[in-house]
């Protein structure tokens, strides 16, 4: 069942906001998508990765692009609780009351980014635990409701300490962030330089109401069709020894519901099970989960959360969705006039996409969405060389016809 018009508009605005944010980064869309998913679910996200991989920058951009109160802090071994939760109110103390000044501090934040979270002291983590779990900040007799939508935490690595691991389990989604690939270094330098030369580039802020409405809408998503497959996946993961707490399994449904909503579905289906991968809080186990669940994830489809869905599943179906979504956007961006100088580069981009589609699928295996897209590309490129020659399977013939060599390393 499709979404109502209002919700559809909210999803569309969220999608364009995501595109806008993504243009400020290289290879970080999946991370941005997961942070946004966390905000819609009102759940917390843990980013694990080496320093300098854009974790802080992504959260800062996300916070700057939202009309919400944000709080950011780099935690160290000697960080005092007051640095996060506010110092004591001396006037209140004179009256015999122990109250912190929480203005602009974590207890009043709607989105929080805590770097090096596992370096926090027991006092910090205990107070934080209550905010994360119960949205309540308590200090002695003082207690207040915390309006926190989502906390995004970062660390270089997962803790070995079982107590800290239990704390880490409060973060529903975990993403392992790696440095970008060698092939993207050129783009990283270009985009990085643009940040120096044009630092004021900011996207139009997204209203808090949009997040709130989407959160409420996600709680109305019908999960009845995914209950059985979700339980099956959980049994499969537990049988393989993947540790997943009951709490996480229950809350995981929120991720499925939010993914379905952003995909434009009021009823969640097998296309929306992929966020399960990010429930697994171990890098090796996470990639193992995406592999062993290939069959369960084969119908994955999400036109908004394209990169995180692809990262969660790594499958051909997700890749097809990614290409189809790119194609739709590209065709929609057609210059109005054929005399427009942008027309030529647009046609070249269409041809590039055609190459990418043919690289991924043989003509016989082309998914329906890409079949239509490819036909559309062909019609736009009509008259060009690409359109004139029909699709051919990716050739292994060239290699197969080469006679075997005695050594595997034959220089040409």
């Amino acid at each position: 069942m499709p979404l109502d018009k209002d919700t559809r508009q909210l999803v569309d605005s969220l999608n364009s906001h995501l595109d806008d944010l993504n243009s400020q980064f290289v290879g970080r869309r999946a991370m941005l998508e997961l942070i946004l998913l966390g905000l819609i679910m009102n759940e917390h996200v843990l980013l694990i990765g080496p320093p300098g991989t854009g974790k802080s920058a992504a959260v800062q951009s996300m916070a700057a692009g939202l009309k919400v109160k944000s709080f950011e802090y780099l935690i160290g071994r000697f960080t005092e609780p007051s640095e996060l939760f506010g110092g004591l109110d001396l006037n209140a103390l004179k009256d015999g009351r122990v109250e912190p000044v929480t203005k602009n501090m974590l207890p009043e934040a709607e989105i929080a980014f805590l770097d090096e979270i596992f370096l926090g002291s027991t006092a910090i983590l205990n107070s934080l635990l209550k905010i994360l779990n119960e949205r309540t900040y308590q200090r002695g007799q003082f207690s207040m409701k915390a309006p926190l939508l989502s906390c995004v935490a970062a660390s270089n690595h997962l803790p070995d300490d079982p107590l800290l691991s239990a704390f880490a389990d409060r973060f529903l989604l975990t993403m392992f962030v790696n440095p970008i690939g060698e092939d993207q270094l050129g783009d990283l330098l270009t985009v990085g330089w643009q940040q120096f030369t044009n630092p004021g580039r900011a996207s139009k802020p997204l209203a808090k109401a949009t997040l709130t409405k989407l959160h409420k809408a996600s709680l109305k998503v019908d999960l009845s069709q995914v209950n059985a497959p979700y339980a099956h996946i959980m049994r499969k993961l537990r049988l393989l020894g993947v540790p997943l707490s009951d709490r996480k399994i229950v809350k995981g449904q929120k991720a499925i519901a939010a993914a379905a909503l952003l995909a434009g579905r009021q009823v969640a289906g097998p296309e929306d099970l992929w966020p399960v991968t990010f429930l697994v809080q171990d890098p090796a186990r996470q990639s193992e989960a995406s592999e062993i669940l290939q069959n369960e994830f084969k119908e994955t489809h999400n036109p908004v959360l394209t990169e995180s869905a692809a990262e969660a599943t790594y499958g051909a179906t997700a890749h097809a969705t990614y290409l189809a979504t790119r194609g739709e956007k590209l065709i929609a961006a057609k210059p109005a006039l054929s005399t427009d100088p942008a027309q030529e580069i647009w046609l070249v981009r269409l041809e590039t996409l055609m190459t990418q589609i043919d690289a991924a699928f043989d003509a016989d295996d082309l998914p329906q969405s890409l079949r239509l897209l490819r036909a559309s590309l062909n019609s736009h490129l009509d008259g060009s060389e690409s359109a004139a020659i029909d699709i051919q399977p990716q050739t292994d013939e060239a290699t197969a016809k080469v006679s075997p060599k005695p050594s595997p390393w034959v220089t040409k």
Binding site: R326, V348, T352, A360, F361, T399, P404, T411, K412
Partner: protein, 149 residues
């Protein structure tokens, strides 16, 4: 040591064209006249092969022509290109060291290479062809007659 087939989910960054299945010279002429953007693509050529590299590496900004029958390749390791849908069948942590050591044995250090495994009908391959890229030029700077085939 083996190469294995994978899902073809890697984004191609270049196209490998080999005679006699495809005539590289034909495509050089065709692409040169097709768009000024294609004329600026880097290419490398050997006796009977041609690699057309995409311009720009970000997926949504990459420019790559459509050459039916060409083998799409992706940069799997630094300076090392594999066909889309193939990977080294060994842990990722040792792949760079293995390929570096193997290239060194054949005096191919500090060169970019295209590795084409010979799969035949199997899903794994033990034999490969290596094409060493010594020079890259702009496609527009090559004479339309193309490489000597």
């Amino acid at each position: 040591m083996a190469w294995r087939r994978t899902d073809r989910i890697q984004m191609p960054g270049a196209l490998f064209v080999k005679a006699p299945e495809i005539d590289p010279a034909h495509y050089i002429g065709l692409l040169q006249n097709k768009s000024i953007f294609f004329a600026e693509l880097p290419v490398a050529q050997g006796l009977d092969w041609l690699v057309v590299f995409g311009a720009g590496s970000k997926d949504d900004a990459l420019l790559l022509p459509h050459i039916p029958g060409a083998t799409p390749i992706y940069q799997a390791l630094p300076d090392c290109w594999f066909p889309v849908g193939t990977a080294l069948d060994m842990p990722e942590t040792v792949q760079v060291s293995y390929v570096s050591a193997s290239l060194e044995q054949h005096n191919l250090t500090r060169l970019e290479v295209v590795i084409i495994p010979e799969f035949g009908d199997e899903n794994t391959a033990h034999n490969i062809d290596v094409y060493a890229i010594r020079d890259q030029v702009m496609l527009g700077d090559i004479l339309a007659e193309g490489p000597a085939l």
